[in-house]
C-alpha cells in the first residue's frame, strides 16, 4: 500500500529542506515553491479524505508500521481515525492559506526563505503528530515541533518576540518534559518489547490506579498547556501579540489542537479510569477557562491578545466536551477542534490584514471602517460571528453539541459555560463596534479594501464554515465511530471497576 501518511509527513519536511537548499539566486521564487508544496499536501489531504472509509472511521486507516527504535519500543507507526483525519485536513488547509496571507511579509528573500521553510517544517510535524499511532513518536514530534515554532516566533514578529518565544518554549517544555515522565512510566506499565509504544498495545492496560492517575496527569498537563487552559494560558496572548498573524493562526488553529487531540486520543483513551477520576476537576477548570478567557477577551484592547483569549475560552469548551464523556459532547469537541481551526485561523488572519494596513493591533485606534471597506467589514463580521458560534456557521454545531451533550454529566458546568455564549457576543461585537462602526476617523479613510489575495485566503474558510454549518455531517460522519469507541472505553472500564 502506498504510504501516503509518511509521504505527507515527509513532503513538507523535504520542501523545507529544498527551500533552504535553493541557491540565493532562485530565492525570489520561494513563496511559489512553498505554496506548491502545501498545495500538493492539501491535494493529498483531500485524497486522504476521499479515500477514508467512514464506515470504519473508528479504526486506524492508512496504517503504516515500521520499526524505528525497537530497542526502546518505538515504532514509526502512522495511521488515522476520523479525528486524526480531520486534523490533518485542517493542517493541510491552513498552511497554504497562512503562506498566502503572509505573501508580502518579508522583503528580504533570505528571511522569507527561513520563514517559509520553518512553516513547512511545522506542517510536517503537525501532520506527523496527528497521524502518530505510537506514543513515543507522538511525543518526539510533539516536542520537536517546538523548535521550528520557537524560531518562527522568535525571529519573525513584534517587539517582544524574543520574550514570547522563550515563554512559549519554556511553557511547552515544562509540560512536555513532565509528559516525558509519563511516557517513560507508561512504557513500564505496558507490554514492553519492540512495539511497546504502539497505542494499540497501550490501550486497555491494567495498572494500579495511582500509576494510572499520575501518568494521566503527566500527559494532561502537557496538553493543558498546549490547549491553553487557565491558569496555564498566559503564554498564548504573549505569543499571539508578538508573532506574525500567520504564525499565530497556525499555532492556535492547528497546533494547539494537539492539546485537545492528545487529551482525546491519549489521555482519555489510554487512561480511562484516571480520566474519569479527574474529569470533575478538569470540567471545572474547563468551565473556568471558558468564562475567564471570555472575560479577559472583553478586557483587551489588543486585538491579537483578544483573539487569543477567545481561544482560551473556546478551548475550555472543547475540554469540557471531552471530559463529559458522552458521545455527543465528544463528537462536538472533535468537531469543534476542526471548526475552531477554521474560525480562529480566519480571525487571526483577518486581524492580521487589518494590522497590516494600519500597523497597530490596538482596537482603539480604529473606527468607522464599515463605511470605508464594507467587504472587509462584512468578512470580519462573519468571521467574528463564527467565533461567537452563530448558528449557520460551523462552530455553532460543535459548540451546541458540546453543551447539549455535556449537560447530562455536568449541569452546573454547562450552565456556567453557557454564560460564555453571552460573553462571546460581547467581545466579538464590542470589537466590531469599535473597529468598524461609529464615525470614521481621518486616519482610517484611505484604508484599502480586502484585496484579491486576502479574499482568496479568507473566503474559502468562510465558505467552509457555512457549508459545515449546514452540513456538519461531512465531518461528523468521521467522528461518530471514534467518539463511540472512546465513550465505550471509558464506560467499559467503569463497568469493570
Amino acid at each position: 500500500m502506498f504510504p501516503i501518511l509518511t509521504v505527507m509527513v515527509a513532503l513538507p519536511a523535504l520542501g523545507a529542506g529544498l527551500l533552504w537548499a535553493l541557491p540565493s539566486a532562485s530565492r525570489a521564487r520561494v513563496r511559489e515553491v512553498a505554496l506548491a508544496v502545501t498545495a500538493v499536501e492539501l491535494a493529498l489531504a483531500v485524497a486522504l479524505f476521499i479515500q477514508f472509509d467512514t464506515a470504519t472511521a473508528g479504526t486506524f486507516q492508512f496504517s503504516e508500521t515500521y520499526a524505528w527504535i525497537p530497542q526502546i519500543g518505538a515504532s514509526w507507526a502512522l495511521g488515522i481515525n476520523g479525528i486524526g483525519l480531520l486534523m490533518i485536513v485542517l493542517a493541510s488547509l491552513l498552511t497554504p492559506l497562512a503562506i498566502l496571507a503572509g505573501w508580502w511579509e518579508d522583503k528580504d528573500p533570505a528571511r522569507r526563505t527561513h520563514y517559509l521553510a520553518l512553516i513547512l517544517l511545522s506542517q510536517a510535524f503537525m501532520v506527523g503528530i496527528f497521524a502518530a499511532r505510537d506514543v513515543f513518536l507522538f511525543y518526539v514530534l510533539f516536542e520537536a515541533m517546538l523548535i521550528p515554532l520557537y524560531f518562527l516566533i522568535g525571529s519573525f514578529g513584534g517587539a517582544q518576540r524574543r520574550y514570547a518565544a522563550v515563554k512559549f518554549l519554556l511553557y511547552s517544555l515544562v509540560g512536555g518534559l513532565i509528559m516525558l515522565v509519563g511516557v517513560v512510566a507508561l512504557y513500564f506499565q505496558g507490554p514492553g518489547g519492540e512495539q511497546a509504544f504502539l497505542t494499540d498495545n497501550l490501550t486497555g492496560l491494567t495498572m494500579s490506579s495511582t500509576a494510572e492517575r499520575l501518568i494521566f496527569l503527566a500527559f494532561f498537563l502537557a496538553f493543558a498547556i498546549k490547549a491553553p487552559m487557565v491558569p496555564l494560558h498566559t503564554w498564548l496572548p504573549t505569543v499571539a501579540e508578538n508573532a506574525r498573524p500567520g504564525t499565530t493562526a497556525l499555532l492556535v488553529a492547528v497546533l494547539d489542537k494537539i492539546g485537545t487531540f492528545g487529551m482525546l486520543t491519549l489521555c482519555v483513551a489510554l487512561f480511562p479510569n484516571a480520566a474519569r477520576w479527574a474529569a470533575p476537576v478538569i470540567i471545572v477548570l474547563a468551565v473556568i477557562s471558558v468564562i475567564y478567557g471570555a472575560l479577559l477577551a472583553i478586557g483587551q484592547v489588543n486585538m491579537l491578545r483578544l483573539v487569543s483569549f477567545t481561544s482560551v475560552s473556546h478551548f475550555g469548551i472543547m475540554v469540557l466536551g471531552i471530559f463529559a464523556f458522552t458521545q455527543t459532547s465528544i463528537e462536538g469537541s472533535a468537531l469543534y477542534m476542526f471548526n475552531h481551526g477554521l474560525s480562529t485561523g480566519a480571525l487571526f488572519l483577518v486581524v492580521g490584514f487589518l494590522i497590516h494596513r494600519h500597523g497597530t493591533p490596538d482596537v482603539t485606534a480604529y473606527g468607522g471602517l464599515q463605511k470605508v471597506v464594507p467587504v472587509f467589514a462584512g468578512t470580519f463580521l462573519v468571521i467574528g460571528l463564527s467565533a461567537l458560534a452563530l448558528p449557520g456557521l460551523s462552530p455553532f454545531v460543535s459548540e451546541i453539541m458540546v453543551l447539549v451533550g455535556a449537560f447530562s454529566v455536568a449541569k452546573a458546568g454547562v450552565i456556567v459555560a453557557a454564560v460564555g455564549v453571552v460573553l462571546a457576543a460581547l467581545y466579538v461585537l464590542l470589537t466590531y463596534q469599535k473597529v468598524f462602526t461609529g464615525p470614521t476617523p481621518e486616519a482610517m479613510r484611505g484604508t484599502r479594501e480586502l484585496t484579491l489575495r486576502e479574499r482568496l485566503v479568507l473566503w474559502p474558510l468562510v465558505g467552509l464554515m457555512l457549508v459545515l454549518g449546514f452540513l456538519p455531517g461531512i465531518a461528523i460522519d468521521t467522528l461518530r465511530e471514534p467518539s463511540a469507541d472512546i465513550v465505550a472505553t471509558v464506560s467499559i472500564e467503569e463497568a469493570g471497576e
Binding site: A67, I69, Y139, G154, L177, V181
Partner: protein
C-alpha cells in the same frame, strides 16, 4: 615462598596498550625530533593513529567478544563489553579532542601556550611565540589521559582505580594550565583543579583504606563479598563506601563536589575543556557503575540516599547557577554539573538498564559537549587592528552570530538543544534511556525533578540561541567578533553535529550495541 607468574590476558588490553604505548613513544618523539613543525605533525599523526587504531581494536573486540568478557588479571582488572563500550566512547572523544588540540586559527595560533614554563606576559613568552615554539607534549599527555580513563573503566580494584585515577588526572591538571591566552586564569584553574583533585583523591583513598579494613581486600569482588558477609562493620563499610563514591563523584562534577568544575572549565584551554568535559564524565561514570554494581551493590539502600541527594542537588544547583552566568564556558560548566545530576538519576534504584543507558547518555552528552566547545574555539574576539584574539566567551559577544555565520550558529544551537534534551537530537534519546532506567525502579519523583530542572535549564540554552539568532549585532560591535574557521575544529563540529542528529533520529543500532554492553563480568547486577 615460590613466585607464581601472574596470568595476564594481554589481548584484551590491546587498546589500552596501544594508547599508553603511543603516549610513551610520543615522549620519545619529543626528545628526538627537534623541528617544531615536524614534531607536531608526528605527534598528531601518532596520536590520531593510535587512538583510531585502538578504537578499531576495541570495537572489534567488542563485536567479537564471546560471553561477557575476559578477566585480565584476577581481582584487578576485567575487560568486558561494558568496558569496551566505554573505551570506544572514550577513544572517540580522544580522537575528537586530539583534533581540537591540533586546531589552529587561520593566523596559525594554537590553543596552547608555546612554552609553559615562562611567565605570562614576559618577554620570553613573546620570544617563544615569535620563534614558533609549540608545546607538542600536549598530545602524549592527552594520550596518557585517554589511557588512564580507559583503565579507569576496566579496573576492579580500589587501589588500581586510584592509580588509574591519577594516571588520567595528572595529565589533565597539566593540560589545564597550558592555555595560550588568559594564562593567569589557566594557571588558576589548574591550581584549583589540582588541589581539589588531590584532596578528593585523598578522600577516595581513605575510603578505600576503610573498605580494606572492613573487608580485607580492595578488589571489587572481594569487597562485595565482604560487605555481604561482614557483621558489626556497617558504619565502617558505609563510611568507606561514601568516601570512595565521593571521590568518583568529584570527577563526575556532582554537587557538592562540583566546585572545581566551573573554574577549571573556564580556565582551561577550550580544547582541553571539551575533552575534559566529555571524557572525564564518561570515565567517572564508568568507574562509578563498576564500583557500585561490582562492589557496593549490597549497600544499595544506603547509597540510594546518597545518589538521590546528590542527584537532586546537582541538577538544581547546576541549573540555577547556570541561569545567571554570562560567561559561556562557565555556563556550560554549570550545565555539566546539572548533567552530572541527570547521570546520577539513572542510578536510582540501581537497575540493570543503567548499564546500557549511561554509556549511551554519556556518548550523546560528550558529542554535544565536544561540538559546543569546538564551536567556541572558533568564535573569537577581534582587536582594534583586526587581528584575531582569544575566544569570545562573554554571552553578549555572541549576539547576531546566526547572521554572521549561520551554519556554525545552527550547529551550536543543535548542541544546545541536545543538552536541553529536545527530541530529534541525541540528547533526547540519551535522557530518555537514562530516565527510563530510573523509572524502571519507580524513581519517578527523582525523574520529575530532573525534567523540571531540564526545563529550567532550557532557559539558558535557549538564551544563547536567542542571542545568536534573534538579536542583532550591537551597533559598533560589527567587527568585534570574528569567526575563525579552523578546518580541524570544523571537522569536530561537523562530526559531532552529524552524530547528534543521527543519534537523535536513528539511535537504534547504537542503542542495540550498548544494550549488548549492559552486562558486567563481575558484579552483583547482571
Amino acid at each position: 615462598m615460590s613466585f607464581v607468574t601472574p596470568v595476564i590476558a594481554w589481548a584484551p588490553l590491546a587498546p589500552i596498550i596501544i594508547v599508553l604505548g603511543a603516549a610513551a613513544i610520543g615522549i620519545l618523539v619529543e626528545a628526538f625530533i627537534r623541528t617544531p613543525a615536524t614534531r607536531r605533525a608526528a605527534q598528531l599523526a601518532l596520536a590520531l593513529a593510535s587512538l583510531v587504531g585502538a578504537a578499531l581494536v576495541a570495537i572489534l573486540q567488542w563485536a567479537t567478544l564471546d560471553g561477557a568478557g575476559t578477566v585480565v588479571l584476577e581481582h584487578m582488572m576485567v575487560v568486558d563489553r561494558q568496558a569496551l563500550a566505554w573505551q570506544s566512547v572514550l577513544l572517540l572523544f580522544g580522537v575528537l579532542g586530539t583534533l581540537l588540540f591540533a586546531a589552529r586559527t587561520r593566523a596559525g595560533e594554537e590553543a596552547f601556550t608555546p612554552l609553559g614554563a615562562v611567565a605570562p606576559g614576559s618577554t620570553e613568552e613573546t620570544l617563544a611565540r615569535r620563534k614558533g615554539m609549540q608545546l607538542t607534549e600536549v598530545f602524549p599527555l592527552a594520550l596518557f589521559a585517554v589511557g588512564g580513563m580507559m583503565l579507569f573503566t576496566s579496573v576492579t580494584d580500589l587501589i588500581f582505580l586510584f592509580v588509574a585515577l591519577e594516571v588520567f588526572s595528572l595529565p589533565l591538571y597539566i593540560l589545564v594550565a597550558l592555555a595560550r591566552r588568559r594564562r593567569l586564569l589557566s594557571h588558576e584553574g589548574a591550581l584549583k583543579y589540582f588541589l581539589l583533585g588531590a584532596f578528593s583523591s585523598a578522600l577516595f583513598l581513605f575510603g578505600a583504606a576503610l573498605l580494606y579494613g572492613a573487608t580485607g581486600s580492595t578488589s571489587f569482588d572481594e569487597v562485595g563479598a565482604g560487605i555481604a558477609s561482614a557483621t558489626g562493620l556497617d558504619t565502617l563499610i558505609l563510611a568507606g563506601a561514601v568516601l570512595v563514591v565521593v571521590g568518583l563523584l568529584f570527577k563526575l562534577g556532582a554537587v557538592p563536589f562540583h566546585s572545581w568544575t566551573p573554574d577549571a572549565y573556564q580556565g582551561a584551554p577550550t580544547p582541553v575543556t571539551a575533552f575534559m568535559g566529555a571524557a572525564t564524565k564518561a570515565a567517572a561514570t564508568a568507574a562509578l557503575i563498576r564500583l557500585v554494581y561490582g562492589a557496593l551493590y549490597g549497600l544499595d539502600w544506603e547509597l540510594s540516599w546518597l545518589f538521590w541527594t546528590v542527584a537532586i542537588a546537582s541538577m538544581l544547583l547546576g541549573t540555577v547557577v547556570a541561569l545567571v552566568q554570562t560567561e559561556l564556558k562557565r555556563m556550560l560548566a554549570y550545565s555539566s554539573i546539572a548533567h552530572a545530576g541527570f547521570i546520577l538519576v539513572a542510578f536510582a534504584g540501581f537497575p540493570d538498564s543503567t548499564l546500557s543507558a549511561l554509556p549511551f547518555y554519556l556518548l550523546t552528552y560528550g558529542l554535544a559537549t565536544m561540538g559546543a566547545f569546538a564551536v567556541i574555539t572558533q568564535v573569537r574576539e577581534r582587536g582594534e587592528d583586526g587581528t584575531v584574539l582569544g575566544e569570545a566567551t562573554r554571552l553578549g559577544q555572541w549576539a547576531g552570530l546566526g547572521r554572521r555565520s549561520p551554519w556554525l550558529a545552527a550547529s551550536m544551537a543543535l548542541f544546545l538543544l541536545s543538552f536541553a534534551g529536545i527530541p530529534l537530537t541525541a540528547g533526547f534519546v540519551g535522557k530518555f534511556v537514562a530516565f527510563s532506567a530510573a523509572m524502571s525502579e519507580g524513581a519517578w519523583p527523582l525523574v520529575l525533578v530532573a525534567v523540571i530542572a531540564s526545563a529550567a535549564a532550557a532557559f539558558f540554552y535557549v538564551r544563547l540561541i536567542v542571542l545568536m539568532f534573534f538579536t542583532d549585532v550591537p551597533d559598533g560591535q560589527e567587527d568585534a567578533v570574528a569567526v575563525d574557521y579552523s578546518p580541524l575544529a570544523r571537522v569536530v563540529v561537523v562530526a559531532a553535529a552529524v552524530a547528534v542528529v543521527l543519534l537523535g533520529i536513528v539511535p537504534g543500532p547504537v542503542l542495540s550495541a550498548f544494550e549488548n554492553a549492559g552486562v558486567l563480568l563481575l558484579g552483583a547486577a547482571g
